[in-house]
């Protein structure tokens, strides 16, 4: 039963991943990231993603506070933040977030504040979505590992 559960969890995970790929939320970089995970670093992906979340939330906070500022004009700083976010997003393969960042940056290059605000909202939305989905994924993964862990000694 437990083995079956692990298989089902794996299937669930694959479905979720397929969905994320299909929706363009993730891209192949995420797969590469997963490939980097092996016995020597079993939690590599979640580790990296957690760093990503931590960093991104900081960046998003900064961006929002920058944009909320009444006499706001520091587009350059904003672009630096965006570049950071873009770089880390493309590193973990968060494609949609990255694309929104591109649009955001375009808006900031035009000093278009309204566009920036809109983009920020979209970005936050995308980010939350991604975070939820990835949490979901990690939960399944954890369950699967647990299930596999239970199964593991049986096989041995």
């Amino acid at each position: 039963m437990l083995g079956l559960g692990a298989d089902r969890l794996r299937a669930d995970m694959n479905r979720l991943l397929a969905f994320l790929f299909h929706q363009g939320i993730l891209d192949e970089q995420f797969l590469q990231l997963q490939q980097l995970q092996d016995e020597s670093s079993p939690n590599f992906v979640s580790e990296v993603v957690n760093i990503y979340f931590h960093e991104s939330e900081k960046l998003l906070r900064n961006l929002r506070s920058l944009l909320m500022d009444r006499e706001f004009s520091d587009y350059k700083k904003m672009r630096i933040h965006l570049n950071q976010l873009m770089g880390s997003s493309s590193s973990i393969g968060a494609k949609r977030v990255r694309n929104v960042c591109v649009a955001f940056r375009a808006a900031s290059e035009q000093n278009n504040r309204a566009g920036c605000l809109r983009a920020l909202e979209v970005l936050e939305h995308e980010y939350c979505f991604l975070k939820n989905k990835l949490h979901e994924l990690f939960q399944i993964e954890q369950q699967r590992v647990l299930a596999a862990g239970v199964r593991y000694p049986m096989q041995n």
């Binding site: 891209d27 192949e28 970089q29 590469q32 990231l33 490939q35 980097l36 995970q37 092996d38 020597s40 670093s41 590599f44 580790e47 990296v48 760093i51 990503y52 960093e55 630096i80 570049n83 950071q84 873009m86 770089g87 880390s88 493309s90 590193s91 973990i92 393969g93 694309n99 929104v100 649009a103 375009a106 808006a107 035009q110 278009n112 309204a114 566009g115 809109r118 983009a119 979209v122 939305h125 995308e126």
Partner: protein, 1003 residues
């Protein structure tokens, strides 16, 4: 969401456009008041109408004033005349009165009787033109009546010719002029007017006048003038009584005013125009008319009154003149006003027309401006769109290609492999196209910048040629490159873009050429001109007549013998270039040094092919994007037609221009110029080190003979050999060489003894096969100490049978396949001459992640990235391949870690970092290293301890793989780059360069 963003972006563009237009739209005065223009016109017309009416009025008033003046002067003139005449007459009557008193009363007996009086008055009548006649009446008192009647013999009668009734006194006429003789004996006192006159006359003692009345006899209007005649001399100041007392009689005269005035006025000019009335105005309420018609016709509006003074203070007269006709409306005033009105209406209309025209033109202009702004915005949007889209396409395409590459690494059946390979090829083609589109968009957006780095033109040409060598060899097309010796070895410019130009043009030629040749020629643009003029015959071996007719077909003196479109590239002109160079070659070093005086060098590159050519109708749109000769072209040959337009842009960016000559079915010759900077020696040697393909110098001083009937081809071969420092002679046929060698051989090599003999396949096949080998045998038998020259066959393509034959004929040594390029020729020569050069460990042999693992295993690698996620991912990826990874989160931290001595084998450096970016960090690291190296060179002991110099390989990590970025990386001392999300193949390629020698020893 992305779409929404895009839209908002468009909105902002539109808004910006509007703003721009708002500011640009400078309203002129006319434009601002455009609604008022018709009103202005109306106002103008009205003002002009008023003005012209005013003018008319003024002129008319002037006329009237003049008319009035004329009238008054005429009237005054008449009045004066009349008055003068009148007073003359009065004076004369006065004189008569005195005459009567003198001769009738003072003389006793009287000297005057009726006859005398009549005669005298008749003869002096001319003196009184206004008087119809004069008469003298005597004062008779009633008491004296009887006596008087008796004395004269007639009774006193009244005016009605009746005997006078009894009165106090009488005034019967005793003398009269003949014209008025009918009044003799009439009592003047019986007439009302006369009586009054008489009484007044004798009281005043002056001439008095009656009011006008109908005269007796003539019934004309007239007045009677009465003068008193006194009996005795009056005292000095007589009283009225004294006057009455002294009165003796009265002299009277009748003025027939009507006819007399008529006469008088008849003498004056202009009497037709005016109407004259004379009035007696003694009684101011009732004017009595003396002359003129009572009925008032003529111009009543205008009249002039003149006072008349006839000498009687009691009576007042006046003359009134008026015009017969009313004043005619003045035609001059009318026409003047009208013309004024018309002219100014026209002027107004012209102004109105001009204003409306200006408004219209300005409107059009604004419209055009708007359209232009819109078009520009659209153009920018298009370019942006293209750039964005192609960028966006490139990302997934890279994914596809990467995955395909991975797929090809797996176990696949042959069919699957074929499919996958096809997909990969297609994908690559697509990427190329996208890159081209991106280039085009960049150029249009003006974002493309050329860099200036030193590069070796010749090696780039070799590279490009090697790209196409496979294709051309399959087609049997000869591909050759020739670079003039005058072209400096290293030039400053953009090698990538130069390569792109050459690739585009040569690629086109290869695509469209099925036979013949493709010939790339580079020389200085300045040297072309004198070359054309140069008629000096050259000293090249081999008659030019040879080879003109081969097997009946016409041969052209081009590279392959096929006709080329541009004759300038044929041998006739080409030999001048070669000859010119030949002359200069000896002193080449000196001359090039002299040439380097100028900063820039303009190169002329021409690519000649013998392909299908460009149809004449399509020739003018060759450089337009997406235009091909016709729609069938892309069907037959593929391609999008964007290449040449990019090429044109690039050439123009390089400060040159591109042109072509093409003849359908003959071929095309594209030629372009480009300006490059000269390279100074310092950077020259620097970059030369990094240049991977350094030409071997082991061939310097060798001698070679090239046997080729086609001089152009021979020149190309010679150019390539010369690059190695080989001295080259050209012979047109094997026989000549053989005989020459034979002779030389016997005379112990007075001229050159060749080390190499390179024979073109065509020349070899053309000559008899046996000949050469026989000669060679001869030569061998001569048994000179010199080693035999190596025989090398040059061929574009060769069949196995021919190869065998060649081997038999003596070309055992080797065959060099064309197109010639330096590295390949060098390799062949090394092989032939046995000059040792150990084979490089071929990188092509190694592949796959296992190799990567072997490369990276145990290496200590520093990853520098400010982005923690990226750092973690990169570290993870590198760790996976067994590397020991350390991380630094900024350029400064990296610098600290890389303080010498350190034990890192490589460094991966992010480019975009805050504070100190990757370029800057690398520059500092390199500086540090070079300082350390200098120190090390100072004391050799330490230097020998650590083998070689400090040079940690630094690889850039970058998200955008733009060529320019890459160049920038190299410039600041980086050794390569990897794309940011690590890809295995990419990583391997980058890493393999540095660790290639080590893995074998390490593992």
């Amino acid at each position: 969401m992305g779409l929404k963003l895009q839209q908002s972006h468009h909105h902002s563009v539109a808004a910006k456009v509007n703003e721009q237009m708002g500011t640009k739209r400078g309203y002129t005065f006319i434009q601002a008041n455009r609604a008022w223009i018709p009103k202005f016109l109306l106002l103008w017309v009205m003002v002009m109408a008023f003005l012209s009416i005013w003018i008319y009025k003024k002129m008319d008033a002037d006329n009237k004033v003049r008319r009035k003046e004329v009238l008054s002067s005429m009237c005054d003139q008449r009045a004066r005349m009349l008055q003068d005449q009148f007073s003359v007459s009065v004076n004369h009557v006065h004189a008569l009165a005195i005459l009567v008193s003198t001769f009738h009363y003072y003389k006793n007996p009287s000297a005057i009787d009726q006859e005398t009086f009549a005669e005298y008055t008749a003869r002096t009548a001319f003196e009184r033109p206004l008087l119809s006649g004069v008469a003298y009446a005597e004062r008779v008192i009633h008491s004296e009546r009887e006596k008087f009647e008796r004395q004269h013999g007639w009774t006193i009668k009244t005016m009605r010719r009746e005997p006078s009734p009894i009165r106090d006194e009488y005034a019967p006429v005793i003398f009269s002029q003949e014209t008025v003789s009918y009044i003799e004996s009439l009592d003047m006192m019986s007439g009302e007017e006369d009586r009054e006159n008489i009484l007044r006359a004798r009281a005043t003692g002056k001439a008095v006048l009656t009011s006008p009345f109908r005269l007796l006899g003539s019934h004309h209007l007239g007045v009677v003038l009465t003068f008193p005649v006194y009996k005795s001399k009056l005292p000095l100041r007589p009283t009225v009584e004294e006057r009455i007392e002294a009165t003796a009689g009265y002299l009277g005269g009748a003025f027939d005013v009507e006819s007399l005035v008529e006469n008088l006025l008849g003498q004056l000019a202009g009497n037709q125009a005016i109407l004259v009335n004379v009035y007696d105005i003694t009684n101011s309420s009732d004017h009595l008319i003396m002359y003129g018609h009572q009925n008032q016709d003529g111009d009543l509006a205008l009249l002039h009154e003149s006072k008349l003074d006839f000498g009687d203070p009691f009576r007042k007269h006046q003359m009134i003149c008026r015009y017969h006709q009313k004043a005619p409306t003045s035609s001059t005033a009318l026409t003047t006003a009208f013309l004024f009105f018309v002219i100014f209406i026209l002027v107004g209309y012209i102004l109105y027309g001009a204003a409306t025209h200006i408004v219209k033109v300005e409107d059009d202009f604004h419209e055009m401006q708007e359209l232009m702004v819109r078009a520009e915005a659209a153009d920018v949007a298009k370019s942006q769109f293209l750039a964005t889209v192609s960028h966006e396409i490139r990302t997934p395409m890279n994914g596809i290609l990467g995955m395909l590459a991975l797929l090809l690494d797996t176990d696949l059946s042959s069919t699957q492999r074929d499919y996958a390979q096809t997909a990969q090829v297609c994908g690559k083609a697509l990427i190329t196209l996208i890159n081209e589109v991106l280039d085009r968009a960049k150029i249009e957006a003006g974002k493309l910048e050329l860099e200036t780095v030193p590069f070796d033109l010749r090696s780039i040409l070799d590279d490009v040629l090697s790209l196409f060598s496979e294709k051309s060899r399959n087609k049997g097309v000869e591909l050759a490159v020739f670079v003039s010796d005058k072209v400096p070895e290293m030039v400053m410019g953009d090698p990538g873009r130069f390569r792109q130009i050459i690739t585009n043009v040569v690629g086109n030629s290869v695509k469209f050429t099925e036979r013949g040749h493709i010939f790339v020629k580079v020389h200085l643009a300045e040297s072309t001109k004198p070359m054309v003029d140069a008629k000096a015959e050259t000293c090249l071996n081999g008659g030019s007549e040879e080879g003109v007719l081969v097997s009946g077909a016409r041969q052209f003196k081009t590279l392959s013998g096929y006709e080329a479109a541009d004759e300038r590239n044929s041998w006739d002109s080409f030999k001048h270039l070669v000859a010119d160079e030949e002359l200069r070659y000896d002193a080449s070093i000196n001359t090039t040094a002299a040439d380097e005086a100028s900063q820039n060098v303009t190169l002329m590159v021409s690519v000649e092919d013998t392909g299908i050519g460009i149809p004449l109708i399509a020739q003018d749109r060759v450089f337009m994007p997406f235009m091909q000769a016709d729609s069938s072209t892309s069907r037959n040959y593929g391609g999008t037609g964007i290449g040449l337009s990019i090429t044109k842009c690039l050439v123009e960016l390089m400060g040159g221009h591109i042109s072509f000559i093409s003849r359908p079915q003959v071929g095309s010759t594209f030629s372009f110029t480009a300006v490059f900077g000269r390279c100074n020696k310092a950077s020259f040697s620097d970059t030369k080190k990094s240049n991977a393909e350094d030409l071997p110098s082991g061939f310097r001083g060798l001698k070679a003979i090239v046997v080729d009937a086609k001089p152009v081809r021979a020149a190309v071969t010679r150019y390539h050999l010369r690059r190695f420092g080989i001295l080259v002679e050209v012979a047109s046929s094997v026989k000549i060489v053989a005989s020459a060698c034979g002779k030389n051989g016997s005379s112990c090599g007075s001229t050159i003894q060749p080390d190499l003999i390179l024979v073109e396949k065509d020349s070899w096949l053309a000559g008899e096969d046996g000949g050469l080998s026989l000669r060679m045998l001869d030569w061998k038998q001569n048994g000179h100490v010199f080693k035999l020259p190596k025989m090398i066959l040059l061929a574009t393509n060769i069949t196995n049978a021919e190869l065998e034959k060649a081997k038999v004929a003596g070309f055992a040594d080797t065959t060099i396949m064309k197109p010639l390029r330096a590295s390949m020729v060098a390799a062949c020569l090394q092989q032939v001459l046995g000059i040792g050069k150990k084979r490089q460990p071929g990188k092509d042999m190694l592949n796959g992640p296992s190799i990567l693992q072997s490369l990276l295993c145990g290496k200590k690698i520093l990853v520098v990235d400010d982005n923690m996620v990226n750092r973690r991912v990169a570290a993870g990826a590198l760790k996976k391949f067994g590397a020991a990874v350390e991380c630094a989160e900024s350029g400064k931290a990296a610098l600290k870690l890389l303080q010498l001595p350190h034990c890192f084998d490589a460094c991966f450096m992010d480019i975009q970092m805050p504070e100190m970016d990757g370029f800057e960090a690398t520059r500092r690291i390199r500086m540090m290293e070079s300082q350390a190296n200098e120190q090390m060179n100072g004391d050799m002991d330490e230097g020998s301890a650590r083998k070689g110099e400090w040079h940690v390989p630094i690889l850039a990590m970058t998200a955008d793989l733009i060529h320019a970025t890459y160049e920038e990386c190299l410039r600041c001392g980086m050794d390569g780059y990897v794309s940011k999300p690590f890809e295995e193949e990419n990583l391997y390629q980058a890493v393999a360069k540095f660790f290639k020698a080590k893995p074998i020893s390490d593992s």
